[in-house]
């Protein structure tokens, strides 16, 4: 019979046949290895069997089974047997969502449910009930006082929802009834109990279709929003989010697209989070950037406006008016017609091309700001639309007037007109970026100018360079500080293999310990220290054990109780004499000697000049590597620190 751990394990469990058991017993008589293995297996079996057993209280067991719907399935309520849910996720999601209020509607805004019938009799209002709260009905089975498990509530008085006609599933006991009505719950709205039927589709389970029966969190305003098939009627809420709403008949028939009402009802598209660069309209003509107006409209010549703008820029440079807006304001009042306040039915209806550009995420305002010559001059209606859209943009927040300084993004330095004019690049002067025209447009502008594109968000490469420089400097400071600290208070990591004696094949010491305060009489090599400072310890005994398949000899000095972690220093005097200095530790009276034939032949206490605390001299039979560390008290063994030396 061959030695086999599987056979030993099976024999220990009594799963072997009689013949195999007899063979194993005869084998164990002669095989020491298998006897040792059998002893180990028994020890491990005992350790596992001695783990603490848990006794679940009766009430807890009932609550746990109720939560798992085991008991509820065994006790059908007045409405009949409860069908199992489609899946655990759906049912447990409902369990999670129902008890608490809507996390995003904590203020109770618009939380009046609809289609909820009054219960009979009404349940008492919960004092701390939220806007919408689902609680267990009061007439349900008593719940353990320690627990509040949300359970199914038998509601015989409530009107039962008509269940869809389900196929006969009697042939499959595990088949669930699709579309079966969900649980009935008592719902309190601001403390007033109401009864209703929670539709699984409303809870996001997706187990049933159809319109929701209870719309928790959806207020009457949302339910009664006047929306027709094609157009959204402006309401008070829509003031903050302007919608391009052409007047009836403003669009040609080919632009109407009656088959896409959803897009018509959507608000005006703001800047896309990651717009396609190709969606930016190319330069239509010199000085005019963007999609422009439809081709049907004639292109207006702007030489007079350019001249006036140049004059205005020169004046602003002379007068020190560094604000571009002032230059614009000096030109526009006499030239630009009065702008509408906002887009919409009261304003000028945008042409279809603008609508298409808006749907693609293009902002006419941003493109108009790309160059000075066409500021507010070439396309008055377009500029009016742009600035109006900028003021009423949901991203803009508060409206900025043109003569107000706009907050610039971090790292963005707009080119002032005066400086630009002085540099001869007035036509490249750029106003502060529009909030609807983020970095993507500037990327395109810079790429056209041959400059490196700006980072997303408006940060310049210079700012990134500065940030990276600061980060590198901080990292260097931290590393220098860590290095200084490490070299001043050297404490090797416990368990590292270092410090081989001279003459051995091991790796030489990498971070030797600074010598003690008084120079020792013996110059040790390959010193290693661990621990910091401790006192009150005394060596009680020493233990020895083989680990890692017999390749490592562990010498463990068991210390008594003390304070702190004693500092242990080891070092070699020659290749086969290991000194162990334990500062703050008193030497033991008698220390057990290692068994014969091991790597360590003797352990003797000694006294060395310059050493403090207990000193032990370990004689080795050959050169070895040593690594050591401190261990705190063992949960199964004696308390106190232990000095572990691994010799290999």
């Amino acid at each position: 019979m061959k030695c086999s751990l599987l056979t030993l394990s099976c024999a220990l469990d009594g799963e072997l046949s009689k013949e195999r058991q007899a063979e194993l017993e005869s084998h164990l008589v002669t095989c020491e290895r298998c006897r040792t293995g059998m002893r180990y297996l028994r020890e491990e079996t005992e350790r596992i069997s001695q783990l603490v057993k848990v006794t679940v209280p009766a009430g807890t067991a009932t609550a746990l089974l109720e939560r798992a719907k085991v008991i509820a399935a065994a006790q059908p309520d007045a409405e009949g047997p409860i069908d199992p849910p489609k899946n655990a996720e759906a049912e447990s999601d409902r369990t999670l969502v129902e008890p608490g209020p809507d996390p995003f509607n904590l203020m109770g805004i618009g939380s009046q449910p609809i289609d909820i019938a009054e219960p009979d009799p009404p349940a008492p209002a919960t004092p701390d009930s939220g806007p919408v709260e689902v609680v267990a009905p009061t007439d349900s089975a008593p719940v353990d006082s320690d627990l509040e498990v949300f359970r199914r509530a038998p509601q015989p008085d409530l009107p039962a929802m008509p269940a869809p006609s389900a196929p006969d599933l009697a042939l499959d006991p595990l088949q669930e009834t699709p579309g079966a009505p969900a649980d009935n719950w008592l719902i309190t709205v601001n403390g007033t109990p109401q009864a209703g039927h929670l539709d699984p589709a409303e809870m996001g389970t997706g187990t049933a279709g159809g319109p929701p029966q209870v719309r928790a969190g959806a207020g009457p305003a949302a339910a009664e929003a006047p929306v027709n098939d094609l157009w959204q009627v402006p309401t008070e809420e829509s003031e903050q989010f302007p919608v391009f709403m052409p007047l009836p008949g403003a669009l040609p028939p080919d632009e109407a697209e009656p088959d896409r009402p959803a897009e018509r009802l959507a608000p005006a598209p703001g800047p896309s989070p990651d717009p396609d660069p190709d969606s930016i309209p190319p330069v239509a003509s010199e000085g005019v950037v963007g999609g422009g107006w439809p081709d049907s409209e004639p292109e207006q010549s702007t030489p007079d406006r350019e001249e006036m703008m140049q004059v205005a820029l020169e004046e602003s440079a002379i007068l020190g008016r560094d604000d571009l807006a002032s230059a614009r304001s000096s030109v526009q009042p006499s030239e630009v017609p009065e702008e509408p306040d906002r887009l919409g039915p009261a304003g000028i209806p945008p042409p279809p091309s603008i609508l298409r550009a808006q749907e693609k995420g293009w902002s006419p305002n941003a493109d108009l700001n790309l160059g000075l010559p066409d500021i507010g001059a070439s396309k008055p209606p377009l500029d009016a639309l742009a600035r109006s859209a900028d003021r009423t943009s949901p991203l803009a927040g508060s409206a900025f007037k043109d003569d107000e300084p706009r907050p610039s993004r971090s790292g963005f330095t707009p080119v002032r007109p005066a400086a630009a004019a002085a540099a001869g690049t007035a036509d490249r002067a750029v106003p502060p970026p529009s909030r609807r025209a983020p970095a993507r447009l500037h990327e395109g502008r810079d790429s056209r100018d041959g400059k490196p594109p700006l980072a997303r968000g408006g940060a310049t490469p210079r700012s990134w360079t500065k940030t990276a420089t600061i980060a590198i400097a901080a990292l260097a400071v931290v590393m220098i500080g860590w290095t200084l600290t490490h070299h001043t208070t050297t404490s090797p990591t416990p368990g590292t293999n270092v410090n081989s004696p001279s003459g051995s094949k091991a790796t030489p010491a990498t971070s030797p310990t600074p010598p003690p305060s008084t120079a020792p009489a013996i110059a040790l090599s390959g010193t290693q220290s661990f621990g910091s400072s401790g006192s009150g310890y005394q060596v009680q005994n020493a233990r020895y054990g083989l680990h890692q398949n017999g390749t490592q000899l562990w010498v463990v000095f068991q210390l008594g109780s003390g304070s702190g972690a004693p500092k242990i220093t080891t070092g070699f005097d020659g290749a086969q004499t290991l000194y162990v200095e334990m500062q703050g530790v008193a030497a033991g009276t008698a220390v057990a000697q290692p068994p014969p034939g091991e790597l360590v032949t003797s352990v003797q206490p000694g006294h060395v000049a310059g050493f403090s605390g207990a000193v032990y001299i370990l004689q080795l039979s050959r050169a070895a590597k040593v690594s050591g560390y401190l261990l705190s008290g063992s949960p199964t063994g004696p308390a106190g620190e232990r000095v572990v030396l691994q010799l290999q």
Binding site: L5, L6, S9, C10, D13, E15, Y40, L41, E44, T45, R47, I48, S49, Q50, L51, V52, K53, V54, T55, V56, P57, T60, A61, L64, L65, R67, A68, K69, V70, I71, A73, A74, P76, P81, P84, A88, E89, S92, D93, T95, L96, P99, G100, P103, F104, L106, D146, L147, E148, V149, F150, L171, D172, P173, L174, H547, S634, P635, T636, V644
Partner: protein, 173 residues
């Protein structure tokens, strides 16, 4: 002729009986399998929930092993019951009250060398070791619980004992 099986509600009483009979052992197994009483309760609850879907015949045939199978599957796949919310909404979700297991669970949760070694072993080996030495299941029952053959269960138990013993002796000095 169609063979009409009994409805699951009929077997629920059997499941309840099984569950009440072996609930202590199941919770003990789950606590030592997962390391935390809270997760253990959630896994046991999830296992009970899924055990409702087991056919009555398998419940009668496999008995407690099928309950251990359900709990083991829940623990292996981290199926909490009720499920843990994901995303930002979990910060606002109201957790159901925890089921208190009493002082015995705290004792079982106390870490010692054996538990450290046990938690350091691989999941399937840990479960096999607990099923054999703690729950005292046979190899056939372990095979049902771990969804493998009895021979594979025996090899799993042997390997688990070897790994557990090796780790225990390494950390117990």
């Amino acid at each position: 002729m169609n063979t009409v099986l009994e409805r699951p509600q009929t077997a629920a009483s059997t499941l309840e009986d099984f569950a009440r009979q072996h609930l202590d052992a199941l919770v003990t197994y789950a606590i030592h399998l997962t390391g935390t009483p809270e997760e253990a309760v959630e896994y046991v609850t999830a296992g009970m929930f899924y055990a409702r879907h087991f056919p009555p015949a398998s419940l009668q045939r496999d008995g407690r092993a099928i309950l251990y199978r359900a709990v083991t599957r829940a623990a292996r796949q981290h199926q909490h019951f009720p499920p843990q919310r994901k995303g930002v909404a979990r910060l606002f979700s109201k957790r159901p009250p925890l089921i208190s297991l009493g002082s015995s669970a705290a004792d079982a949760n106390r870490i010692n060398t054996a538990k450290r070694a046990l938690l350091a072993t691989e999941f399937s080996r840990r479960s096999a070791l607990l099923l054999r030495d703690l729950a005292k299941l046979s190899y056939r029952e372990i095979g049902v619980a771990l969804e493998c053959s009895p021979e594979a269960a025996s090899r799993l138990v042997a390997a688990a004992r070897r790994e557990f013993g090796s780790i225990y002796r390494d950390i117990s000095i």
